[in-house]
């Protein structure tokens, strides 16, 4: 059967674009979440939209599952291959087709790296705003599939806010033009529906993104606090003062120590939490805002406040935050990155809960937090060589996500559900919503051939999970509306 498929694929793809030998398939067996691995039946590397259409038509005819893959940096196993399916890498579609400086848009292929778009827009004084931390490597097609954010998304929005148009192929090879060069389009908002749909509804072959002017200036306030609650209040106070910072990041004590050991960014080792708060805009705007942020930090009980005096210092303040992941890799053989969002007011409670779980499971946990929008990234430190430690880590992580749901938040802010959080979907949604998700999928892909088994759990799976868990009837925040 594999050979039949290979022969048919090779009738329209060059030989090097169809991989089926075990050693060639190996590099594709996982994405950024390496704990989940699966060898695909075969890998195709199309270079044109026409080739993708041919692959899809063949797969549709032979009822072969198709999993799309961008740069493979995803953190939820969204691009985990299917054992009986074709893994379609879109890496070769890597052209920036057009930059329209006057209209402030760029038309790009899905395999273009996120950062490459901004780099290409520099001569026009423009850039593409969403900046996921993997932006040097991740592809724009993957960003659309996951609705990626970044440290600046409180002010500048997520992928869904920064794209105008998609060319999408459905599983039967039909081409849809979704969105337009205008700010809205006729009919349902399929642009929003496609964004974050994790490769379940169609294959994106071209993306028109919005570009925005590069701010004249950016400046950073770094504030240390002796208490996490005080840092959380400081964030609320900044927002209450009518300021939307360009970035607002928080790190807890264990993270501060890990990164300081790693690259000596000059972080305050006595602090229980550090806030990085960035202002950008015109010179006048930034001067005004930075002064107000400084005052608010001091009034909120910051023990130490530093303002970046120049661009080099701003980048060095950021360096520590950006090094949180490699620093985790240095203090521990392995780490597992979680991605829940909570209403910010519950931050202190949730962090305390994580601390208790950390003791219970005997595993350390670092916390970095997109504080402005409530997106929490606990990094659980573990050693995969210790028997049972990965399993304990996963259970610990699962409990953190349940805690996010109970605090009125969500199990994933920006990494996607993929394979990783499929069980927690049963906790976040009820049968009615899950049925509707399956119905939406069926409206695009009735045979269920695109990325099957991801993002939305079967009702059967949830029923089995429900039977396994004995609910004590205790909820952490019983008075909260569950919206």
């Amino acid at each position: 059967m594999v050979h039949d498929l290979v022969n048919q694929l090779r009738s329209f793809l060059p030989p090097e674009a169809v991989l089926f030998e075990t050693e060639d398939l190996k590099p594709y067996e996982c994405d950024g979440l390496s704990a989940y691995r699966q060898t695909p039946l075969l890998v195709v590397l199309p270079q044109t939209e026409k080739q993708i259409i041919q692959v899809l038509q063949l797969c549709y005819k032979t009822k072969t599952p198709v999993v799309a893959r961008g740069a493979g940096t995803g953190l939820s196993g969204g691009a985990l291959p299917h054992a009986e399916g074709v893994l379609m890498s879109l890496a070769k579609l890597n052209q920036i087709v057009e930059i329209d400086a006057a209209a402030r848009t760029a038309r790009v292929q899905p395999g273009v790296r996120n950062l490459a778009i901004s780099e290409a827009a520099v001569p026009y004084g423009l850039y593409y705003a969403p900046d996921p931390s993997s932006q040097i490597a991740c592809s724009i097609g993957g960003n659309v599939a996951e609705n990626s954010g970044g440290v600046h998304c409180l002010k500048y929005g997520l992928t869904v806010h920064n794209i105008l148009k998609l060319r999408v192929l459905t599983i039967d090879g039909e081409c849809l033009e979704i969105g337009g060069q205008s700010l809205d389009s006729a009919g349902f908002d399929l642009l929003a529906l496609m964004t974050g749909s994790e490769g379940m509804l169609g294959i994106v072959t071209e993306i028109t993104v919005k570009l925005i002017p590069v701010p004249e200036k950016a400046q950073l306030v770094m504030a240390g606090f002796d208490d996490v609650q005080k840092a959380g209040n400081a964030v609320a106070n900044v927002i209450a003062a009518g300021i939307i910072p360009a970035g607002m990041e928080m790190m807890d004590k264990i993270t501060i120590h890990a990164v300081e050991e790693f690259l000596q960014a000059g972080y305050d080792l006595d602090a229980a939490a550090i806030l990085l708060c960035e202002s950008d805009g015109s010179v006048e705007e930034v001067a005004d805002e930075i002064e107000r942020i400084n005052t608010i930090m001091l009034k909120s009980g910051a023990t130490k406040v530093s303002l970046s005096r120049n661009e080099a210092e701003r980048l060095s303040f950021w360096a520590g935050r950006k090094a949180a992941f490699p620093a985790a890799g240095r203090v521990s053989p392995d780490y597992y990155c979680m991605d829940g969002t909570i209403p910010r007011k519950h931050l202190a409670d949730v962090l305390r809960g994580i601390e208790e779980l950390s003791v219970e499971y005997g595993l350390r946990c670092m916390n970095v937090f997109h504080a402005g929008d409530g997106n929490l990234h606990p990094l659980i430190l573990y050693d995969a060589n210790q028997p049972g430690e990965l399993e304990r880590t996963e259970e610990f992580g699962g409990k953190i996500l349940e805690m996010c749901i109970h605090a009125g938040g969500t199990i994933t802010g920006e990494h996607g559900v993929g394979m990783e959080k499929i069980n927690q979907m049963c906790s976040q949604f009820r049968t009615g919503e899950l049925e509707m998700f399956h119905a939406v999928k069926a409206a695009f892909d009735a045979e269920g051939l695109l990325n099957p088994g991801k993002a939305v759990p079967t009702l059967h799976r949830c029923a089995e999970l429900g039977a396994m868990h004995v609910h004590s009837g205790e909820e952490r925040f019983p008075d909260l509306p569950r919206f």
């Binding site: 006057a102 402030r104 954010g149 409180l154 929005g157 997520l158 869904v160 459905t170 849809l176 033009e177 337009g180 060069q181 205008s182 700010l183 809205d184 389009s185 006729a186 349902f188 908002d189 399929l190 929003a192 529906l193 974050g196 749909s197 509804l201 002017p213 590069v214 701010p215 004249e216 927002i239 009518g242 939307i244 805009g281 015109s282 006048e284 005004d288 969002t341 209403p343 007011k345 997109h370 929008d373 009125g408 938040g409 969500t410 802010g413 990494h415 559900v417 979907m425 976040q428 949604f429 009615g432 919503e433 509707m436 998700f437 119905a439 939406v440 069926a442 409206a443 509306p481 919206f483």
Partner: protein
């Protein structure tokens, strides 16, 4: 409040059983918009389920019931120095949040801040079988499940009955002024796009009769700095002017049989269509009032060639195909989605497209 939802559910189930569609009606302020229901139908009044459920200014999130009057919601936000940044038009005192989301219409700030859909974080809704469903949530970043909340925006009640909506809100700007500059249309389109590509605090633009109006909003020093760069003279009744554009009480909108809304690529050169035009959103929105000598097909073709679409926004004539026709592939997906959300086809049939 649950009893009101129970009533809606009973009404929906009755509609399914009797095969009599319902027209969903909130404040009845935007009934002029979209295609009328052509089949025999009942009216489902959804204005009773109203009130703010939760509002935490420091979380930048408000959750309100769909029957809440837009004016009441905006007043509550105003008290905390916050706003709906997409500046939705009301077109009447009774306008509700549900109608705002269902029509998906945004006002002058749209090009700078985003549209209704950009601020919707979650919805609670009834589908076409009366099932009570919740999508999205109350947090800013959330990628669990398909984005059904945003799909509801602009779907004109064809996919479900909105019960509650959570929205991201933003602080109001501390300072704001409007500049008026004299120039012709081509020059204005050029300038608006040029300035939108620079870090200037422009929150709205409007061009009408050789005058370009630019609203600057932000911190005082930033607004003053921008004023020096842009020049022109300062409008004294700034806020009244933008309200008249947003609510279509401006003189431009007061005459003519049909008002067309052309949503196109912002840099498109002046459109060669007879009649009068008013331009917003840096050139991306062109309002057209024209006489009957131009056919709908011509207007649609012009909009399509300019990278967008045309809507017959208001008319004294009979309304049939108000929205830009969809390609067959897109229509197939639309019908499939409609079938999933409303299998009996009883929610606002034909309101968006005659086909569903």
């Amino acid at each position: 409040m649950q009893s009101i939802i129970d009533q809606y559910q009973v009404a929906i189930q009755a509609a399914v059983e009797s095969k009599t569609p319902v027209q969903i009606c909130g404040g009845n302020s935007k009934n002029f918009y979209g295609n009328p229901l052509t089949v025999n139908h009942d009216v489902l009044d959804v204005s009773a389920y109203s009130g703010i459920v939760e509002y935490e200014p420091t979380e930048l999130v408000v959750t309100a019931r769909a029957g809440t009057r837009l004016a009441d919601l905006e007043a509550a936000l105003n008290q905390q120095g916050q706003m709906l940044a997409f500046e939705p038009p009301c077109f009447g005192k009774a306008a509700t949040l549900g109608g705002c989301v269902a029509t998906g219409l945004s006002g002058p700030r749209r090009a700078a801040a985003g549209a209704v859909r950009d601020f919707v974080l979650g919805v609670r809704m009834l589908d076409g079988s009366g099932k009570d469903l919740r999508f999205g949530g109350q947090v800013m970043k959330n990628v669990a499940g398909y984005d059904v909340s945003r799909l509801m925006v602009g779907s004109l009640g064809t996919l479900g009955v909105l019960l509650e909506v959570s929205l991201k809100v933003l602080p109001q700007s501390s300072a704001g002024i409007t500049l008026r500059l004299r120039m012709d249309e081509a020059q204005a389109i050029d300038k608006m796009n040029q300035w939108a590509g620079q870090p200037l605090p422009i929150s709205a633009t409007c061009f009408y009769r050789d005058e370009l109006f630019i609203r600057l909003s932000g911190a005082k020093p930033a607004v003053h700095a921008a004023q020096t760069i842009l020049g022109g003279d300062m409008l004294t009744n700034s806020s009244a002017f933008w309200t008249s554009v947003r609510e279509q009480t401006h003189n431009f909108f007061q005459s003519g049989k049909s008002l067309w809304r052309l949503s196109i690529k912002s840099t498109s050169a002046p459109l060669s269509l007879p009649g009068r035009q008013l331009i917003e959103w840096n050139g991306a929105l062109r309002w057209l009032i024209c006489d009957e000598t131009v056919t709908a097909e011509t207007i649609r073709q012009v909009a399509k060639d300019a990278g967008g679409h045309a809507t017959l926004f208001r008319t004294d004539e009979e309304r049939r195909q108000v929205f830009h026709p969809l390609d067959p592939g897109m229509m197939k997906i639309h019908r499939a989605l409609k079938q999933k959300f409303d299998p009996a086809g009883i929610l606002n049939p034909g309101r968006l497209y005659p086909e569903f």
